[in-house]
């Protein structure tokens, strides 16, 4: 496997790996905040939400080679990462407004 393909493979999985780390992070912060009664609970959740979006946005728009030399793997990686960004916005957005603790 060529070096550029290997890199493309890493890019292919990075978006949803970041997404799943973000999911675990938000889930953990939500539970810990409720258990320990954090006063700035919402702020932590929103910060984590934004912190997860930054690498995902970079992956979705990062500068890349285009044209005929761009492999289909690289194109697939680009679109998977854009899907991961969209999925993060849609699925994680409720942490900014939904009820946290009961």
């Amino acid at each position: 496997m060529s070096a550029s393909n290997r890199l493309a493979l890493v890019h292919l999985v990075s978006g949803f790996v970041v997404w799943s780390l973000g999911f675990v992070l938000l889930y953990g912060l939500q539970a810990l905040g409720c258990a320990y009664g954090w006063s700035q609970h919402r702020l932590w959740l929103i910060s984590a939400f934004v912190a997860v979006l930054v690498p995902l946005a970079w992956l979705a728009w990062r500068p890349r080679r285009t044209g005929p030399e761009a492999s289909s793997l690289a194109t697939a990686a680009l679109w998977v990462n854009r899907a991961a960004l969209g999925a993060a916005i849609l699925v994680f957005l409720p942490v900014t407004f939904a009820s946290t603790c009961i």
Partner: protein, 221 residues
């Protein structure tokens, strides 16, 4: 013949929708929310299934129509345009209906519920009512139940009155239930807790508010 078949199948189909432990036969606003969500999800799934089956049939009956669609159109149409609005509607519905189930503020009545293999014990603090295996609640009012467990994890569930909540040893979880009308409802432990789990049922009695007040004060209604 067809009519007879249809008539025969209807009770079989609807049989699962009624009864003491049916979440599809709601008897209170919270259970109604959950039933609505269930229907929205069923309709969403049916619409998607119908669309896919229609395309499938088209591929057999009118292959020429299908070949006119380019691969890019399939990906954008089938992968984005079709599922995303449906997923947004489902997620939004679940969020709005789910928020309304949460016990916000204090409910007028609070009951303590303790689970122990394989029964439930309910107490009304500061009342003359003795601890009981029957959950007494007023009708037409939200009731908070503070649920805990004395041994393993159980789950309190009255399908016709609301959602379910885990009963966890050393922790108190609160669930809000509401019955519209006086009557008898049934609950069931909803978390497998050993061999007696399936028989871990409990009776819920919803009373007229005056009768409930009398019950709490220990006088005959």
């Amino acid at each position: 013949m067809f009519k007879r078949l249809l008539l025969g199948a209807t009770p079989a189909l609807l049989g699962g929708c009624s009864g003491d432990l049916s979440a599809l036969d709601p008897a209170g606003p919270r259970a109604a929310n959950l039933a609505t969500l269930w229907w929205v999800m069923l309709i969403g799934a049916a619409v998607l299934f119908g669309l896919v089956m229609a395309l499938f049939a088209l591929a057999y009956r009118r292959p020429a129509w299908i070949t006119r669609v380019t691969p890019a159109q399939w990906i954008v149409g089938g992968g984005l345009v079709l599922p995303i609005p449906i997923l947004i509607v489902l997620t939004g519905t679940a969020l709005v209906l789910g928020e309304q189930l949460l016990p916000k503020g204090e409910a007028p009545v609070r009951v303590e519920g303790r689970a122990q293999q394989w029964s439930w014990h309910f107490t009304h603090p500061e009342s003359a009512l003795a601890p009981s295996e029957i959950l007494h609640i007023p009708a037409g009012e939200p009731v908070d139940i503070a649920v805990t467990s004395l041994d393993v994890i159980h789950s309190l569930w009255v399908p016709r009155l609301g959602g379910k909540i885990d009963a966890i040893p050393g922790k108190v979880n609160i669930i809000r239930l509401q019955a519209d009308e006086p009557g008898v409802y049934w609950g069931q432990c909803a978390e497998y807790c050993g061999e007696g789990h399936d028989g871990m049922r409990f009776r819920v009695e919803a009373h007229e508010p005056e009768a409930f007040a009398a019950l709490l004060e220990g006088r005959a209604p």
